[in-house]
Symmetry: C2
Amino acid sequence: MLTFDPICAIATPPGAAGLAIIRLSGDSCFTIADTCFRGKTSIEEARSHTILYGAFWSGGQAIDQVTAFVYRAPHSYTGEDVVEFGCHGGTIVAHEVVQALIEAGARHAEPGEFTKRAFLNRKLDLTQAEAVGDIIHAVSTQGSHTAARQLMGGFTRRLAELREKLLELCGLLELELDFSQEDIELIDKTVLARRIHEAREYCLELASAHRSSEILRSGFSVGIVGYPNAGKSSLLNALLGKNRAIVSEIAGTTRDYIEETLQIGSMAVRIIDTAGFRASSDVIEVAGIQLAETLLEECHLILVLNDSAEGWEHSNPLVNSLRGKFLEARVECVQTKIDLLENTPEASKDAIFEGLHLSVKEERGIKELKHFIEREAQRAVQTVSDALINARQASLLTQAASSLAKAREAVQAGASNEFAAIDLREALKRIGEITGEVWNEEILNSVFAKFCIGK
Amino acid sequence: MLTFDPICAIATPPGAAGLAIIRLSGDSCFTIADTCFRGKTSIEEARSHTILYGAFWSGGQAIDQVTAFVYRAPHSYTGEDVVEFGCHGGTIVAHEVVQALIEAGARHAEPGEFTKRAFLNRKLDLTQAEAVGDIIHAVSTQGSHTAARQLMGGFTRRLAELREKLLELCGLLELELDFSQEDIELIDKTVLARRIHEAREYCLELASAHRSSEILRSGFSVGIVGYPNAGKSSLLNALLGKNRAIVSEIAGTTRDYIEETLQIGSMAVRIIDTAGFRASSDVIEVAGIQLAETLLEECHLILVLNDSAEGWEHSNPLVNSLRGKFLEARVECVQTKIDLLENTPEASKDAIFEGLHLSVKEERGIKELKHFIEREAQRAVQTVSDALINARQASLLTQAASSLAKAREAVQAGASNEFAAIDLREALKRIGEITGEVWNEEILNSVFAKFCIGK
């Protein structure tokens, strides 16, 4: 195990609560901890994975009663000697503990530095480190669970299998190269090309899971649009209702839209209420068009609310225009205020009731709409279930795929084995960068800079 | 040790961070924990004060990698069997862990319920429990340190000594009563009266520490007043400057004043900027007079800013009026804008420089003003140093003091010993209520209702 200079930080969120945890890791951290801790046993003498109880001293006085959690290298989160102090929560004490540890010789940890050390000590690979960040920032249970599977090595295993297959192919190619004088063919070139192709397809499949991963990470985005008085506000309130668990209102410079996140099933759904669509004959006028379009571009589902009392085809120009503009999203019309449909001819009614329809006033159709949204959200994430592919990983997978494409072309063109072998090695390097088998400071910084301090 | 039904709650503040801790305590909590935890060792088999590492399962899947901290009764915070789970911080996982434990048989803990159990199991007395709350909500290091001394038994020991003295006097009185036929005097009545008087004085001294305790608990309040353009805003900014550590702006219905808390030395100082004082001849007009007066009533120090360029006695009517109105506070005049004093006669200048004076523009006098505030704050809290006397304790101490006064009167009047003994017993009962030696549900509820959940 590598051991670095001692670092410390508060590992729990700020605020008044029963407990705060301060983490200390690195070289001589037991000595540092003992200068502040007075208990029956010293931390230096304590066995690994034991809990001591005592007073935490700073500036000649006991500032709190604390528990000290002792982990001896390599059996700790970072792989180094680690002490965690549990003190009473609140603004003051936890900061004093950190300050005292710094005075005793530790320095304040940088964002993600504990996890970075865990990586350097091979306690986890980069995909697992990234999963830690995804669990902490998860907005849905499904996103959190997927990240947990990744943390427990789901993605690591997939990549290890892929790597093994490519290494085997590489090995065969290079072995053949050794016997090139004798013209021995160790592997059928058609089989070789097929296996490289399969590996490439697998890389692309994983890379394409990036989109659904983002949905798990940030939520499934539903845009609500419609002409004025289509019932947007009341639908928004009905959807949020008692489910207003996680609510965030974007307080931007323009207050032209509202975004709220709610849990539907195991998914986080971001409802984006855009204002400003106005009908003028068959042309669609969009007030603040740029903002609205930017918002809708992020949406996976766009619901166009149509006031059914105005005629059930009243919003069709808007629906068609949006379908033409946002090809990636599903655009659906929702008939609102169906309680007002008394005088509508039966034929029209049938058409209305075929699609999505609701009455907020009579509480009809809300549950059905939620089911529809949940079904759409689930469909959008039905790909990889044990990894949250992020942009970094997707980009590396795509790069690996193009190297594999080149390798296959070389094989099919009957070129010398060494060309294909170079491309395969290139692909292996990219895959190694995903897990961190191949790394440099730049790669690590890009991964850990996003972490919070204390992790 | 008493054991109650199993309860659980998140013990760390909400928010995204490295760690969250979920506490589980009570009957069969190891069995409950084991239904969710999968590690090398089961929690049931683990020794006390050890740390296990494993996966936390819920709904048929592993939702996170966790550490389990195992404490066996009576060696735990509550005195019961306790398991604390450390999981990754964030909104989702910690709540899922609590949910899973509830499904496995625990119930959600009420505010302060863990500490209440600690009290019922005699792990700490009520003054120590109250100290826990004070540490968590401390706004200054000095307040936090005083609460820590109370947690470690400072106040408990004081009360135990007092109790012992009163018990001794009680014993003598009651012994004499047994020999009343023989007319034996075991204790000199003058000595007895003096000792009761001393005890009473001690109770009142402790009770009077309530005011300084409140300063340690909530901060030393400084009101800044002055006629318009006296330089209040710029002074406020200069005071807060880089010390803007803990900043809170009261977002009330009236935004007529600003309150900010800053640390000066080891004290928390609340700076209250009241608007609305206007000079009109020698009468003081107070705009929104009721609000301003309510605010200033809370203040321990009132600084009247006087624009020295307007004449150094310009604000005297305001100073005098405030001194007449707020007798508890110290009211001081501060000469501002002293950089503009060029044309002032020397005699006036001398008078100005005798008192508090400053120039925000030239950064003169700010440090001195801070020292002055700190000195005043320290003077206000120079009483009891190992207890934060709260309203409940002060009230009980005052009640005990009046019982002791009655006891002394009875002794001095030469009444039968039994009267003084009854009063002494009454005083002992009140002191017992402070520590919780005497308690009922009502007392406990009043103490623990103020706690946060998870403590």
